[in-house]
Structure formats: C-alpha cells, structure tokens
C-alpha cells in the first residue's frame, strides 16, 4: 500500500488520535467501560494501521523487534511485580489496599491502575508481534 497517498496520509493523521484514545480507555477503566485489555488492543491496532499503510520495514524502524519483545514481557512483569510489592507491603498477593500510598481506597485504586497498564502493554505488543510475525513479508525487501 506504499503507493496509495490517501491511505498513507489518513493513517498518519489518525494514528496519534487512536493512540490517545487507547490511553484514555486504559486510564478510565475505573470510571467507564474499558480497561487495560481494550485499551491495549486499540493501541496495538493503531500501530498495525501504521504498518499496513507504510510497510513492515518502516514499522520496524519505529518499533524495533528488540523493543517490542522486551515490552511483551514487561507488561506481565508489571502485573506480577505489583503483586509482589503487595506482599512486601504486608498484604496478600495482589491485595492493593496494603500498598503504602495513603488511604486504603487510594492504594487499591492506584494498584488497579498499575495492573491495567501492565495488561495494556502486554496485550498491545503481543498483538503487534503476532501481526509482524504472521503477515507475509513483501517481496521487495529481499
């Protein structure tokens, strides 16, 4: 699709807005519908849109293989790490209210933010990875 200028311009124009919406969905999971999973999928979709419009090589320039591989495991580690932090703070595993962040309500609220962000990172970069590895490489790159 590299030669379609309309596709390219629209994709370039929309990508930041889709990503902003993705972050909004992750951050507002406690108030409205949404959360880490949906937001992560939207974030992954925005990057997949960019890759579809500009090609694999251009996409890999923006998000290198190494970075996306690291981020795939970072999300799951953030989630499990918050659980460990809860144990260190004196609670049970994933008992956010025990985190030393002011009141119990605030602590459990922030703990849930943390795990939503972890879920979002993992989901987004797993989607990107699956797309990059599954889609056929264009013949021109050989």
């Amino acid at each position: 699709m590299k030669e379609h200028i309309i596709v390219r311009i629209v994709a370039k124009f929309f990508t930041p807005f889709i990503q902003l919406f993705a972050f909004y969905v992750i951050a507002h999971g406690d108030l409205g519908p949404g959360g880490g999973f949906q937001g992560g999928v939207i974030l992954g979709a925005s990057i997949i849109l960019y890759v579809i419009a500009f090609g694999m090589d251009e996409g890999r320039k923006r998000i290198s293989q190494k970075v996306s591989d690291i981020l795939v495991s970072t999300g799951a580690l953030v989630y499990a790490g918050i659980g460990i932090l809860c144990i260190l703070a004196g609670g049970a595993y994933l008992e956010y209210a025990e985190l030393p962040l002011g009141s119990h309500h605030l602590a459990s609220h922030l703990g849930m933010y943390g795990i939503e962000i972890g879920v979002g990172i993992t989901v987004a970069f797993v989607m990107i990875t699956i797309f990059f590895e599954t889609a056929k490489k264009e013949r021109t790159d050989s």
Binding site: G44, G83, L94, Y96, M112, T122, M127, T129, F131
Partner: protein, 182 residues
C-alpha cells in the same frame, strides 16, 4: 423488535460466511458479525463486553485473520466432482450434520432450566449482583464494578489471562520468526 432484527442479521452473516468461497470476504463478514454482536451487548447494557467485542472481535481478529490469509491462499479449496461423490465424504457430511444438531439440541435443552431474562427472582440477581453493587465502592474505592471484579476481586484470573496472552505472543515468536541469515 430491533433485537430480533439484529439477531436475524447475525444468523444471515453466519450463513454467508459459511458459504463464501472467497476467504477474505468471509473474514470481513465475520467482522460484521462481531460488530452486530457488540451492538446487541450494548442493547443488553453490557457495555464493557460490547467494547471488548468491538475492539477484539471486529477489529484485531479481522486484521490477524487477513494477516494469516496473506500466508495461505485466498480461495477455498474446491473439490472435484469425483471427490465429492465418494461415499466417505457423504458419510462424514451426514455425521457432522447429526453431531451439530445433537449439540444444538443439548444446548437448547440446557437453556430450558435457566430463569427468564431479567427475572428479579433469579439467583444471580438475588445473591451475587446486589453484593457487588453495594460493596464495590467500599471494598475497592472505584465505581466501575466490572473493572473492580476483573482487577481486584478476580485479580488472579486476570493475571492468568495476561499470562495466556504473553504465552501466545511467545509461541508465535518461537514458531514463526525467521532466523537471521548467517
């Protein structure tokens, strides 16, 4: 009224997707199917589920299916006339029809014991829902009950789901990534 219309559209989408020889069109029709399903979930006031269905079912699944199609063939394999008349092919078709009908009948039989939709006397509305509605804000400090259940009450499950997704990503990397030429 509109619910019945939406359900009819879903059935039509499913039938079209089955009979489509062009797999790309079938993928797009499955995307439409998911999107209408999301509309039905919205009608049932299950906004979180609808959001997930719209972003995952209609959005990312279609893209990943198209990506998978780019590695295989776009059109379905056509049986030649000789292959279609083989008795074993006919037998397996009849057997699969019987299997589908039996499974469907069992599922319908299972729904007969379920309480009416929206019945206030149903066990879930008597026992589980009121507790979450009354206690969520006090227990967790947030207002969206769905998020509270996913992230706090059932935090282990969500950790497991994240691990499943992580495992899927790892498996795809292990199976499909090409090694660099030495």
């Amino acid at each position: 009224m509109i619910d019945i219309l939406l359900l009819l559209i879903i059935v039509a989408c499913a039938i079209f997707a089955l009979f489509m020889k062009d797999l790309l069109s079938a993928t797009i029709i499955l995307g439409v199917y998911s999107f209408i399903m999301a509309t039905i979930f919205t009608r049932l006031n299950a906004v979180d589920v609808a959001f997930t269905e719209a972003s995952v079912g209609a959005g990312i699944t279609s893209v990943l299916m198209i990506a998978a199609l780019s590695r295989t063939k776009r059109y379905e394999y056509h049986y030649t006339k000789g292959q279609r008349k083989k008795p074993s092919a006919l037998f397996s078709k009849i057997m699969s029809l019987v299997l589908v009908i039996v499974t469907g009948a069992v599922l319908v039989y299972g729904t007969l014991d379920m309480p009416e939709f929206g019945d206030p006397e149903a066990p879930t509305n008597q026992h589980v829902s009121p507790r979450y509605i009354e206690e969520t804000h006090h227990d967790t400090g947030i207002n969206n009950m769905v998020t509270a259940v996913l992230a706090s009450y059932r935090g282990y499950d969500t950790l497991g789901e994240t691990t499943v997704i992580f495992t899927a990503g790892t498996a795809v990397i292990l199976l499909l990534r090409r090694k660099k030429k030495v």
